[in-house]
Every structure is written in structure tokens, then in C-alpha cells.
């Protein structure tokens, strides 16, 4: 019962989903859609488990007077405050996300608009700095591959710039020349000459061409990188990942892969 029934359910569901895909007639035609609705309903119940886990964790921290338990109080107050706002707005307007205009919003939407949205976008904006510092550590052009990574990243960034394209391209040219000189004298003279030549050529182009022309070419270069070499590798990875996912799905349906049963 504990292991066999879940394995049978998994097998039946997996086979049904595959079989119904090939039968467009009812009741199989809408089977996938119906199952996705069931899946989201199940997800709704699972959120209750998540809520229980979050509340228990923070209550424990408060009761045990752990270090920083004040922040657990903050979490619980925010959690229950937002839940209360949602329930009150829902009861009042029939929907929690009442939004006529920014001047006429329910308390739940107020929390969403003035607390959740700014926090979310600021947290993601903060990542700009961390990505930059991570790049400094990872991108020090020690190898040919790392240099390629760095050059592709800089070209894409220059292509997406709305201003300052020419100085950025000049900085890239100087960087390429420096990387070429380093590579020439330290380890790989051929690569050094290649990098150096590209850097010199880029520098000359930036100086010769008018700034408006450079600003016009940079987005085209960026678009080409994104749509050809970037897309090619991405496609290769996607195809590989999908083949792996299909193989894993077959293993799960056949009961070879059972790790999901070990969580309870």
C-alpha cells in the first residue's frame, strides 16, 4: 500500500497523459486541460502545507528566543497582516485584487502595489551589483574561454546601451589589446596576436567611424550574437535537456526512478 499504490498511480497517470495526447476525441480531448486544473487545485492545498511550515518555523524561533527572533515576528506580522487585508478586501468587494484606479484600491492591492512590487524589483535590481562583483571574480580573462565569455558579455551590454556606446567600445578595444599582450608574452602568442589585432581593429573602427554609426552598428552586433551563436548553444543545451527530461519521465512512469517516494 505504501509504495505499490503510488507507483501504480504514477504509472497510470503517466500512460494516460501520453495516450490521451494522441486521441483528440472526447473525453480524452480535454483530459490534459482537466488534469492541469486538478494540478492547480492540488497546488492550492499544497500552499497550506507551505504556510503551516513557515508559521511553525517562525513560531519556534520566537518561543525559543533564538537570536534575531525579532525578524520572525516581522515575518509573521507581515504574513497575517497581508492575509487579513486580503480577506477583508475579498469580503468587501468580492475580489481581493480590487483595483479601480490607484486612488481607489483595496487594502490588499495597496500592500501588493506599495510593498510587494517595490521589494521585488529592488531585490532583483540589487542583483546587478552582485552580478558585477561575481563577474569580476569569474571573468578575469585567464583563459581563452573566459576571455570569449567576457567579450561576448561586453558586446551584448554595449549593444543594449542607449548612451555611451563609443567610450564603452573604446574600453573594450583597450581591454582586448591588453589581453592580447598578456597572452602573447605569457602563454599563447597566436591567441595574443588574434586578441590584440581584434582590439586594434575595433579601436581604429571606433575612432574612424562617426559616433552615430557606431551607435547604429552596436545593436546589430548584439542582435547577431543573441540570434546566432547564443541561440545555437542554447538550442543544443535545450535539446539535450529535453532528451534528458523525456528519459527521466519514462524512468518515473516505469517505476525505475522512485526517489519521490522517500520524502514521507
Amino acid at each position: 500500500m505504501k509504495r505499490r499504490v503510488p507507483l501504480i498511480i504514477t504509472f497510470l497517470m503517466g500512460v494516460l497523459m501520453v495516450v490521451t495526447f494522441f486521441i483528440p476525441r472526447e473525453p480524452f480531448g480535454s483530459f490534459e486541460q482537466r488534469m492541469l486544473v486538478w494540478f492547480s487545485i492540488l497546488g492550492g492545498f499544497t500552499l497550506l502545507l507551505g504556510l503551516d511550515s513557515l508559521v511553525k518555523h517562525h513560531f519556534r524561533r520566537i518561543i525559543r528566543k533564538r537570536k534575531d527572533s525579532f525578524y520572525s515576528i516581522v515575518t509573521l506580522v507581515s504574513l497575517f497582516g497581508t492575509l487579513a487585508a486580503g480577506i477583508v478586501t475579498w469580503a468587501k468587494y468580492g475580489t481581493p485584487l480590487e483595483f479601480a484606479s490607484l486612488e481607489q484600491i483595496g487594502s490588499f492591492y495597496w500592500v501588493y502595489w506599495w510593498i510587494m512590487v517595490p521589494l521585488q524589483s529592488t531585490v532583483f535590481a540589487l542583483l546587478a551589483f552582485f552580478i558585477a562583483s561575481a563577474a569580476y571574480r569569474a571573468f578575469r580573462a585567464r583563459t581563452f574561454d573566459a576571455t570569449l565569455l567576457l567579450v561576448a558579455a561586453i558586446l551584448v551590454m554595449i549593444g543594449k546601451m542607449t548612451m555611451g556606446v563609443v567610450p564603452a567600445a573604446l574600453i573594450l578595444a583597450v581591454f582586448l589589446v591588453a589581453a592580447g599582450v598578456y597572452r602573447f608574452f605569457v602563454r599563447e602568442p597566436v591567441l595574443g596576436i588574434i586578441f590584440g589585432s581584434i582590439g586594434v581593429a575595433l579601436g581604429v573602427l571606433v575612432i574612424i567611424f562617426p559616433a552615430a554609426k557606431i551607435a547604429q552598428i552596436a545593436p546589430q552586433v548584439q542582435e547577431w550574437i543573441m540570434s546566432v551563436p547564443q541561440m545555437a548553444a542554447r538550442r543544443g543545451i535545450l535539446i539535450g535537456v529535453t532528451l534528458g527530461a523525456v528519459a527521466m519521465s519514462i524512468r518515473i512512469i516505469l517505476g525505475i526512478e522512485r526517489t519521490y517516494l522517500s520524502s514521507t
Binding site: M13, L16, M17, F21, W38, S40, I41, L42, G43, G44, F45, L48, L49, L54, Y71, V74, S78, L79, F80, G81, T82, G86, L97, V111, W114, I115, M116, L119, Q120, S121, T122, V123, F124, A125, L126, A128, I131, A135, L148, L149, A152, A153, L155, V156, M157, K160, V228, P229, Q230, A232, A233, R235, G236, I239, L243, M248, S249, I253, Y260, S263
Partner: protein, 234 residues
């Protein structure tokens, strides 16, 4: 601007500065904002799911189908209503984890249901939604005659695309040692992968920077500007 919105503006600005203060170092203001974010997000998704999943897709659907049966004698309505009991029971079974390990194992049934569903969808969706379209998009004309007036650069792009996809796939093929021909092709693959990662990194940085500009714009224009407007309007 109403007082509620002015208050909202100040709350949003304070929280924005609190999160940005992490750039100096981890501090109580940042931790406060971080924990507010956790609490508010969790509550938001619970309310959202309660409204748009549990109410709209379960309760309202059940009610309308049952009413159709009771008022018009629609058998399909009754069947639809009864079918909705299945995910409800599965959902309740998921909650048996609360009771303890004695009957908590029953929660494996709904988990098995979702795993089976995901595995089935993984096969059909993966092949139809990702694999075939990606392979199809890769198969482009490799040769374009320069005299036909077609874009020669596009043909170069198609060739590079084929080379990139095949070499990337070979780089991730570990059943044979990467020596000889396979070694050369996988070396080309790593070059494509590096350019791809670099480009993806550059695009991500620019997206984050634009978000940062948005937040700085909010602080300067909306927060300070909005407050000045509010004071002037008094």
C-alpha cells in the same frame, strides 16, 4: 494624491532604501525589509491561489455544475461536479502529513498523481513543445546563391547555427572520451557555450541595471517629486 497613497509612497521608498542598504553590508534595516518581503509574498500567493484557483476553478465550477444538474437535470453537469471531488480528495490527502507519520504516508498518493502527470506531460510536452520545434528551427537552408539576391550573411548564420547546435550536443555527450574528431567538435562546442553564457550574462546584467534605474527613478521622481506635489497641493 490621497493620504493612503502618500503613505504607500513613503513605505515603498523606505523599503527600497532598506533593501539597497545591503550594498553597504548586511544590516538590521535590510533584514527587516527581507522578512517583510517573505511574509507579504507568502500571504499574497495564498490569497491569490484561494481566489483564482480554489474559488474560481473549484468552488464556483462545482456550484454551477451542480445547479445545472438540479435545475435543468444536466447529467454532464453532475458528472463534472462529481469529478471535481477527486482533486479535492487528493488535496485533503496531501494534508494528512499534518497528522503524523502513521497516516502521513497517504500523502504519497497525491504526490504520485502530480509526479505521474508531470512525467506524462514531460514526454508529450517535451517532444512536441521543445524538441521538435528546436530541431525544426535549426534545419534552415545552408546554401544561398550569392547571385539569387538572397542574404549571404543569413546562410553564414545558418551554417554557424548547425555547427553550434551539433557541437554543443557533442560537448555534452559523455559516452565516449573527447578525443580525436569528437574532441575537436566538442572544443568548438565549448566556444559556442562560452559565447552563449557570456551573451546571456550581458543580457541579464542589462535587465538588472534597467530595474535599478527604475528604482532610482522611483526614489527621485515619484517619492521626492510626489511628496513635493502633495505638500504644494495642501
Amino acid at each position: 494624491m490621497s493620504f493612503a497613497n502618500l503613505l504607500g509612497l513613503w513605505v515603498a521608498a523606505t523599503l527600497t532604501i532598506a533593501i539597497l542598504s545591503f550594498l553597504y553590508r548586511d544590516n538590521p534595516l535590510y533584514k527587516f525589509a527581507e522578512h517583510v518581503y517573505v511574509g507579504v509574498s507568502a500571504a499574497y500567493f495564498i490569497i491569490y491561489s484561494a481566489k483564482f484557483t480554489m474559488e474560481l476553478q473549484l468552488i464556483n465550477e462545482f456550484k454551477s455544475n451542480l445547479e445545472a444538474y438540479l435545475q435543468q437535470g444536466s447529467t454532464s453537469g453532475l458528472v463534472e461536479a462529481l469529478l471535481l471531488i477527486i482533486p479535492t480528495i487528493l488535496g485533503i490527502l496531501m494534508l494528512t502529513r499534518w497528522v503524523g507519520p502513521k497516516i502521513g504516508w497517504i500523502s504519497r498518493w497525491p504526490i504520485a498523481f502530480t509526479i505521474g502527470l508531470g512525467a506524462g506531460l514531460g514526454i508529450t510536452g517535451g517532444i512536441q513543445g521543445v524538441l521538435l520545434p528546436q530541431v525544426q528551427a535549426t534545419i534552415e537552408p545552408l546554401w544561398v546563391s550569392p547571385f539569387s539576391g538572397a542574404n549571404l550573411w543569413a546562410a553564414v548564420g545558418s551554417l554557424l547555427m548547425i555547427l553550434g547546435v551539433v557541437s554543443t550536443l557533442i560537448y555534452f555527450y559523455f559516452s565516449r572520451p573527447h578525443r580525436g574528431f569528437i574532441g575537436v567538435v566538442s572544443r568548438i562546442g565549448i566556444i559556442f557555450i562560452m559565447v552563449s553564457f557570456g551573451a546571456a550574462f550581458g543580457a541579464t546584467v542589462m535587465a538588472r541595471v534597467s530595474l535599478l534605474i527604475g528604482r532610482l527613478y522611483f526614489l527621485v521622481n515619484e517619492w521626492i517629486g510626489g511628496t513635493i506635489d502633495f505638500i504644494q497641493a495642501l
